[in-house]
Amino acid sequence: MSFHHYTGDVMKRKKDIFKEIDELISSVKERFDEIFEKVEREFTAKPLFNVEKCCLEPLVEVHETEDEVIVTADLPFVRSKRNIDLYIGEKHLEIKASIDKPITFDDWDVLHKHPPFKFFYKVVDLPTEVEAREAKAYFRNGILKIVIPKKIRGFKIHIK
């Protein structure tokens, strides 16, 4: 790029800088909204059931090791691994497990309807990119455990 070419572009670049700042602000705002939405989703006390869909939300835990994401879920009244369907994508893990004997909360007057709850359902946000195809799942004593390797990118560095 020549000197002349550069100075000629100063005004245009100034405009570009403002545009860039605007873009930056809106992208930061977007990111913040995303984070707040996530925090809100995590901490707002939404009910752990859905009357319309007749499902209960299970308690889940997500934690990470250096190279794995480990998700567990508490699934009482789920009898065997055959009653559980798991789907995994790059960002989410979907858990659906049918309950052996449908649960009703007849004495609980908060519910406007008293459907039998027939399954647990939860979509878990994964904290990082994962090797979805290599995920392994275990089910023991009503606790489901899914171990998913993290996507660790890159090449081997040779030390000189």
């Binding site: 006390a45 299970p58 567990t72 009244f77 455990k145």
Partner: protein, 254 residues
Amino acid sequence: MKILGEEEQIKIIESRPLKAKNPTIILALPDVGLVGVISAMQMIESLEPRVIGEIESELFPPITIIHEGKILAPIRIYEKNGIVIIVSEIPIPTTVIRPLISKIVSWAIEKNASLLLIPGGTPSPNRLEIDSPKVFAVATNDETLKVAKKHGADTFREGILVGPHAIALMESVKKGLNALSLMAQSFLNYPDPGAAASIIEILNKMLKTNISVEELLKKAEEIRVRTRDLMRHTSDVMRRMGKMKEYELPPLYR
């Protein structure tokens, strides 16, 4: 106008006089795996003690429990045959734990309690592989620890305690109350009736009670469904109080 300290804002209301001269007081607040609360609920169901009081404070969330149409305080005190049970159905906000426990320890001393017993859980990373959870004991004096060990508890030798039982032990040491914390290996964030069963087995021997462990295990799944909300809110409180420190090794050992 006198500004009340936090402890003065907590009131222990005795609706009926305590009968026992030297009661064993069991303190069950929501914590790891709700082990303490589940154990206490099973004791209440089995012993059928009467409610003798409640703990009230403006520092607690504005909650009232309705059970079978009756209005109940969320933190209640029960008594039967020399056993007093204090149980909470709400997680205690982190900032209120210290004044609440301090108040309870002072009350226990005032009532000439022979023992303050805190049943609970210790988070075990491999809980999934454990069929019968061990129970660890920490006591304010050697004699009490010996009794707990005689009845099947192991000594908790090294570790960091965080939460209600940590404060209860410290306050008891400070004020000279005989206290024992029993901690069963437990899930951290899932209600753990299996861990509560291990606690009940030891309590049965220590207190010469006959609380059915079988019955507790039979309705374990129902308990896990019913206590999901309390567990979720307790998990939030535990996260804020730094419960994960219980997985750490203490830096100084002498």
